[in-house]
């Protein structure tokens, strides 16, 4: 929906009192009525409308072409944990948003660290880590790397492939995501590989203060963030991993946070739970378009 530049049709431009400002207005208005009110002929208006429609319509793509494109561009990134990989149907899929939700101290950030380390060390690809709570501790990443290899140079190289952004509000997050689309993704790709994963830990920390109450913008900002993440995943073949909190219902049952509107955004959702008495954690697949929900 672009403003009609005055140059394309000076007659319409000069009759701005007709309330036709945008392409949308022209296409949806009554051509006969418009022809009567301004000095442009009916045929000319019809031709203009046809051109505008042709310029702005979406092209249909066949399912087979889409499938071919998906096969050639999707990669599956292992998380470093074989049972988690099995739950995710072999790993994190590029082009999709995967969500990890869980209560406090259930291990969400630890899984994110582990994924980042695995992609940067084992797969030798770059990772972008967006930290919204200050919890990212490089010493912990190094600890995980030291388990994999003793070679200090390899450890340093793997750490260099992880780029950390620290942001604490939604506009900074949106700015970061759009800048990444612009040029920063190439800059973040270090050491030959390209950025294969973007981890946002946690997306609910920046979004939950905006939702509810008298704030009308919260929902729209949440959808903007969702849109930016999904299109980035699709356009750049990146696996997007986000973490979310959980809310507790009246009878104690847990639900992922951010409400029903957000629940459609991730393709796959995993719930992490910590069991106090056995001090183990469990992962449950609660939403997937590929698998049956399981533990």
């Amino acid at each position: 929906k672009f403003i009609i530049k005055v140059g394309t049709c000076p007659q319409i431009g000069s009759h701005s009192c007709l309330c036709v400002f945008t392409v949308e207005d022209l296409v949806s208005s009554n051509i006969e009525d418009l022809a009567r009110r301004c000095s442009v002929s009916y045929k000319a208006l019809l031709a203009i409308r046809r051109v505008l429609l042709a310029q702005h319509t979406a092209f249909p793509v066949s399912g087979a072409d889409l499938y071919e494109e998906l096969l050639s561009s999707t990669a599956i990134l292992s998380t470093g944990n074989t049972s988690l990989d099995k739950l995710l149907d072999s790993g994190l899929y590029t082009g999709e948003v995967t969500e990890l939700c869980g209560g406090p101290a259930s291990g969400k950030s630890q899984v994110c660290f582990s994924v980042a380390v695995n992609i940067s060390w084992r797969l030798k690809q770059s990772v972008v880590y967006v930290d919204t709570s200050g919890g990212m501790t490089a010493a912990r990443l190094l600890q995980m790397l030291q388990v994999e290899t003793d070679n200090t140079e390899e450890q340093m190289e793997a750490l260099q492939r992880i780029t950390v952004f620290r942001l604490f509000d939604v506009y900074a997050l949106l700015h970061c995501l759009y800048e990444l689309r612009g040029a920063s993704l190439q800059q973040a790709a270090v050491g030959g590989g390209s950025v294969k994963a973007v981890i946002v830990d946690s997306v609910s920390a920046v979004l939950s203060p905006l939702l509810g109450g008298k704030q009308s913008e919260g929902m729209s900002l949440m959808i903007q963030v969702a849109f930016a993440l999904k299109t980035m995943a699709k356009d750049f073949n990146i696996a997007v991993l986000v973490t979310n909190h959980v809310t507790r219902g009246r009878d104690g049952e847990v639900q992922p946070g951010l409400g029903v509107s957000w629940s459609h955004i991730p393709r796959t959702r995993i719930l992490l739970e910590r069991h106090e008495h056995t001090s183990t954690c469990s992962a449950t697949l609660i939403k997937s378009s590929r698998q049956v929900p399981a533990h």
């Binding site: 929906k1 672009f2 403003i3 400002f21 209560g103 406090p104 101290a105 630890q110 980042a116 880590y129 919204t132 709570s133 200050g134 919890g135 990212m136 501790t137 490089a138 010493a139 912990r140 990443l141 340093m156 750490l159 260099q160 992880i162 780029t163 950390v164 952004f165 620290r166 942001l167 604490f168 506009y171 900074a172 949106l174 700015h175 970061c176 759009y178 800048e179 040029a183 920063s184 800059q187 973040a188 946690s202 609910s204 920390a205 920046v206 939950s208 203060p209 939702l211 109450g213 913008e217 729209s220 900002l221 930016a228 299109t231 909190h245 959980v246 809310t247 009878d251 946070g257 001090s279």
Partner: protein
């Protein structure tokens, strides 16, 4: 791909006017001057200038590689607690640049630990301390000056006994009870509105006092009690507080320590459990959570949540000198 105007931090009234005028993306506003924009969108000159100012923020956001972050973390120290087992479990003490929550039942020693940290952050660097100042935000009136002076005196005595070389002796001249008291800034907040206002002013306060290395908020639960009948408002405020504290901690290399109370969660079937107050979402807010609890007559501290430390439990005690290891007192008692 085009970036929509709704991703900019503008007021909703201005956004509505821009959208009605047909401006949807940032690229639509390129090369427009303020008077032109003001005319076409029907906004005032000032609003048009504010909109265009937001556009000029096309700077890439600051980032660093994990390697650079590792180097930075190595430079950042931790604040010792004088309880060596807890310091060991935390890898040196309460870390700078992170937010820590201390929760436990009343009387377990939360405020004592906060007062101890407020003294310990001022220990000079040649003794292995941080040598910084402290802002103490008191919401429940728990800051008792006499007790703080006692802890300060005990720390000064401890360090003067340890002073070996010339540098340490010189440092002891500036590490006295008086200087400790004068480097502690106490702020009294009576309700959540004052708390939120104080947090909003915090960046400018920290800019004016660059030596501050510790922010203590003793009592996060009490000011929010009037909001118990509007829990969603409380959750929103707390979410905002969490983001602000994280920004302060990482942006100014300050350790943020917050204390919280316990509340009862009903589990159904007549059972209940003691859990930290302020709700589920607050549990995610801070990086490190220390749970202080009783086991019989012994006080224990458990690391309930941390990105980089294991979940260990250590013993501690509160003596007249402050927050200490259990063994020290036994050794002192035996003497």
């Amino acid at each position: 791909m085009q970036r929509p105007l709704s991703t900019l931090p503008l007021s909703s009234a201005v956004k509505a006017k821009l959208v009605t005028a047909g401006f949807h993306f940032i690229s639509d506003l390129m090369n427009l001057k303020a008077p032109q924009l003001s005319r076409e969108a029907g906004v005032s000159q000032q609003e048009a200038m504010a909109v265009l100012a937001e556009l000029e923020q096309g700077v890439p956001p600051p980032s660093m590689s994990a390697l650079q972050l590792l180097q930075k973390e190595a430079e950042l120290q931790s604040i010792i607690t004088f309880c060596s087992s807890l310091d060991g479990a935390l890898g040196g003490g309460v870390p700078l640049g992170k937010t820590t929550e201390i929760y436990g039942v009343p009387g377990i020693g939360k405020t004592q630990l906060c007062l101890q940290l407020a003294v310990d952050v001022q220990v000079p660097q040649c003794f292995g301390g941080v040598g910084g100042e402290v802002i103490f935000m008191d919401t429940e009136g728990t800051f008792v000056l006499q007790r703080f002076a006692e802890l300060a005196a005990a720390a000064v005595t401890h360090c003067s006994l340890l002073a070996e070389d010339e540098e340490q002796r010189v440092a002891m001249e500036t590490f006295t009870v008086d200087t400790i008291l004068s480097n502690t800034y106490v702020v009294r907040c009576h309700d959540y509105v004052e708390l939120l206002a104080e947090l909003r002013l915090l960046p400018s306060i920290l800019a004016a006092r660059p030596k501050v290395r510790l922010l203590v908020m003793d009592g996060m639960a009490a000011p929010f009690r009037p909001l118990l009948d509007d829990l969603s408002a409380r959750t929103r405020h707390l979410g905002g507080v969490a983001l602000q504290l994280a920004a302060v901690a990482t942006g100014h290399d300050v350790a943020v320590v917050v204390t919280n109370q316990m509340t009862t969660r009903l589990l159904g079937g007549g059972r209940s459990r003691l859990v930290p107050a302020l709700g589920e979402l607050w549990g995610h807010a801070l990086n490190i959570r220390l749970h202080l609890h009783w086991e019989g007559s012994q006080r224990l501290a458990t690391i309930a949540k941390s990105p980089a430390h294991a979940n260990v439990t250590v013993q501690y005690q509160i003596s007249s000198d402050g927050f200490r290891d259990v063994d020290q007192s036994h050794a002192a008692g035996a003497k």
